[in-house]
């Protein structure tokens, strides 16, 4: 690990301002992704700003009946919150399907959204990777690409976003609240938080340098039967090959987002009109532009079957 200086921020504004001032600074929350990558020198911040003391660890009701989730709320606490279990079950389910009990106790709402890909070549510093070292090439293209993206990828990068929580938040139309180093605040719909890789896979989000996530807001509950189904190589403590977050209303309408298929949670609102016609029709639309590799073509039928199982469960 490279050396770094360390400070505990006193307020969200001070944290963002400090990030704006220091060169090569990073926020550290749970640390479960950042430290992992720092040990491998894939992340090499010169300064760490510890945001754990910022009192952003509450879940409050909003005026319009939704919930404001502080950026530092731990994954365990978010999944266990009574309001989330009752009104946003897809979110509890997605969180509980991720990582392990120990990791969820540390992992935070903002850190989970901003965790980096699990592409094995991103982790292997001996091999080319445009995300880790822009311009060096992509070892996954033409390599072993079983876990990689089937849609929205580019000639530069075919990595997926590994979060389960983000997929549920995409289905719930969550909104991210931030503060920038100059003190300006803004909101970002989750659909616009994560980028597709394009020519710059190293730029993963639309956050500005030093921009701090302060909260994630869920709009008022939409009801319906909510489910998150994750398919993986072992029954627990493994990342998704494919996952489906779905909200299905009694009249057959609903929402669907996929995990494990793209560089961001994958949702195409127009595809949801096909829900009354079943999983095949929805996934045909949702994954119409898919360009899988030989190794990961299985994800297309797997996504359809997983959605089919979710719909059957939701309508039971």
């Amino acid at each position: 690990m490279r050396t770094f200086s360390y400070e505990r921020a006193a307020s969200p504004d001070a944290a963002a301002a400090a990030a704006g001032q220091a060169t090569n600074a990073k926020f550290i929350a749970g640390g479960t992704n950042l430290l992992d990558l720092m040990k491998l020198e894939i992340e090499t911040p010169a300064h760490l700003i510890d945001v754990n003391g910022l009192a952003l660890d509450r879940i409050d009701a909003t005026a319009d009946g939704g919930l404001r989730i502080g950026a530092l709320v731990r994954n365990t606490d978010l999944a266990a919150d009574g309001r989330v279990r009752r009104d946003y079950a897809v979110l509890s389910r997605a969180l509980l399907a991720g990582a392990s009990g120990q990791l969820r106790n540390k992992a935070t709402t903002a850190g989970n959204l901003l965790q980096r890909t699990r592409c094995p070549y991103f982790y292997d510093t001996n091999l080319p990777c445009n995300k880790r070292k822009p311009g060096s090439g992509c070892a996954a293209i033409g390599g072993f690409s079983r876990q990689h993206a089937v849609i929205g990828a580019s000639e530069a990068c075919i990595a997926t976003h590994p979060s389960d929580m983000a997929v549920a938040m995409r289905a719930l139309d969550a909104v991210i609240e931030t503060v920038r180093p100059d003190g300006a605040t803004r909101t970002i719909p989750i659909a616009e938080l994560h980028r597709l890789p394009g020519d710059h896979p190293e730029v993963e989000t639309t956050l500005a340098p030093g921009e701090l996530i302060t909260a994630v807001v869920l709009p008022k509950p939409v009801g319906g039967a909510q489910a998150y189904r994750k398919v993986r190589d072992r029954a627990s403590y493994a990342f998704a090959l494919v996952s489906v977050a779905a909200i299905v209303q009694p009249d057959g309408s609903g929402r669907v987002a996929l995990g494990g298929v793209a560089h961001k949670p994958w949702r195409v609102e127009a595809a949801e009109a096909e829900l009354p016609r079943g999983a095949k029709a929805v996934t045909a639309r949702l994954l119409a532009d898919a360009r899988p590799t030989r190794d990961n073509a299985f994800k297309l039928p797997l996504a359809e079957r997983t959605l089919s199982a979710v719909l059957r469960e939701a309508r039971a």
Binding site: F4, G31, L35, D36, A80, R86, R93, A99
Partner: protein, 169 residues
């Protein structure tokens, strides 16, 4: 170097550490509490599990300087050879290990798992998110999935935890 103070197993400690020191290395290399083990050093095995302010975490993926003022419990603090914690005694009784390397992490995790169930925290296998969480073997196994045992002592580990859970339920 940065100064940090926290309690470990009820005793206050003040350390001056390189900021890069993980909590795991602070416990093992600086406080010489070698019960907590380093398996993968990347959050993938659970050997380094300790209990911080009542919650189990992977001590390899957190910096010591981030634990100012915390209360940390390691396997050494749960019980002693003369006075074993019920979970330690159950692991001995059920032979819940072979090489023993994963055992301190398994035991710290198991103790915290029973607290999590008592606190009503749901898991991936909890069928009903609204009803109170019910203790079952499936619940215990899912919640222990963050602790890998290379020797494959899982069935005996599950029996040990099940026995303590049955008693405390």
């Amino acid at each position: 170097m940065t100064r940090v103070s926290f309690d470990v197993n009820g005793e206050p400690h003040q350390l001056e550490l390189d900021t890069r020191t993980t909590l795991l290395d602070a416990l093992r290399e600086h406080l010489h509490l070698t019960g907590t083990k380093k398996g993968c050093d990347h959050g993938q095995c659970g050997a380094c599990t300790v209990i911080v302010d009542g919650r189990r975490i992977n001590s390899c993926l957190t910096l010591a300087v981030m634990h100012q003022g915390n209360e940390i419990t390691t396997i050494e603090g749960l019980g002693s050879p003369e006075q074993l914690h019920p979970m330690q005694a159950a692991f001995v009784k059920h032979d819940g290990y072979q090489c023993g390397y994963c055992t301190p992490g398994q035991i710290c995790s198991a103790v915290a798992v029973l607290d999590e169930i008592r606190a009503g925290i749901p898991s991936h296998v909890t069928a009903d998110l609204i009803a109170p969480v019910r203790l079952s073997n499936a619940e215990l196994r899912e919640r222990m999935s963050g602790n890998i045992c290379r020797c494959g002592a899982y069935s005996n580990i599950a029996e040990a935890i099940g026995e303590v859970a049955g008693r405390s339920a």
